[in-house]
Symmetry: C5
Subunit: 82 residues, 5 copies
Amino acid sequence: MLSGRVTGTIVSTRKVDSLIGSKFLEIQLFSNGKETSEYIIAIDTVGAGVGEKVLITTGSGARLALDNANTPTDAVIVGIID
Amino acid sequence: MLSGRVTGTIVSTRKVDSLIGSKFLEIQLFSNGKETSEYIIAIDTVGAGVGEKVLITTGSGARLALDNANTPTDAVIVGIID
Amino acid sequence: MLSGRVTGTIVSTRKVDSLIGSKFLEIQLFSNGKETSEYIIAIDTVGAGVGEKVLITTGSGARLALDNANTPTDAVIVGIID
Amino acid sequence: MLSGRVTGTIVSTRKVDSLIGSKFLEIQLFSNGKETSEYIIAIDTVGAGVGEKVLITTGSGARLALDNANTPTDAVIVGIID
Amino acid sequence: MLSGRVTGTIVSTRKVDSLIGSKFLEIQLFSNGKETSEYIIAIDTVGAGVGEKVLITTGSGARLALDNANTPTDAVIVGIID
């Protein structure tokens, strides 16, 4: 799993139907609690906002955090880090 | 998930039957909204064209965006970024 | 599979319900028995503590080490290295 | 998905039974149509030969291109690039 | 798939029950037949020994090479390279 800070929102009006209603956030990844130059885009499930530090699950495990486990994504924000 | 700009088309006449009809696009990946030197090839589902900025899902989640979830791919364009 | 040394704990009070009760540890990855600058966050299953050297499974295989194979994670500590 | 040029064959006499009959090719990966220093080994499904430019699917999607979707592989050549 | 040379054994007395009996080997990865500085840990299925060059499958495909496809691993040695 990865940690990082939310830096912005990705807006996509024209997208596959199964992603309608999903909120896409861009996240600057952390390593050992420090900022890196890596970024990832993930679907939010916990109401994360820009500036918050979050915990991210990638791959097939990410979808298990969503109401619809068939959502075509590979990364989901699963928690806010205290 | 990844973002990037479509840079071209990959044409493959001789391919596995289950990929017949799929449109393969090459995409220059972005990080934090800026161009990187990384590229990926993905199947298009949203009618993306060269020059458009797109949202990409990789891995097993990519196939969930296709009509046939058994398509042998690992990356699909799931949205056009506004 | 990966090896590394546990360096700390990640605390997330606000998280998806299916991760309540999971213990998240940050691990400095090793390569050929030596420390690298790479870190990963994994769920603990073997009672690992800070400073211990551990064995980690990533991806869908990680979930198979948990009581609930539908836990939305992508990395699990599956053993303590002697 | 990835593109690259086939550079050689990997021969393994002693292997798991479910890989008997599979042809393993080593491929130099391309990025934006240019050679990189990265290589991958994939099972061939389209009769690719050394020197040909190919399209590769990785991960669980790779297996969907094979007659036996339970073949223990993570990369399959799914097309010859024109 | 990956190739590499077995460099040692990883011993873990305290581990998840489903990994009891598995043999973990550390492997120095090869690229284009030459040594790299990358290492991976994989479960052995073919009786590989230190110094032997091996073929490795990663991800969910790795588990398909094992008698128990629910083994919590992400990398398995599937062949000895001639």
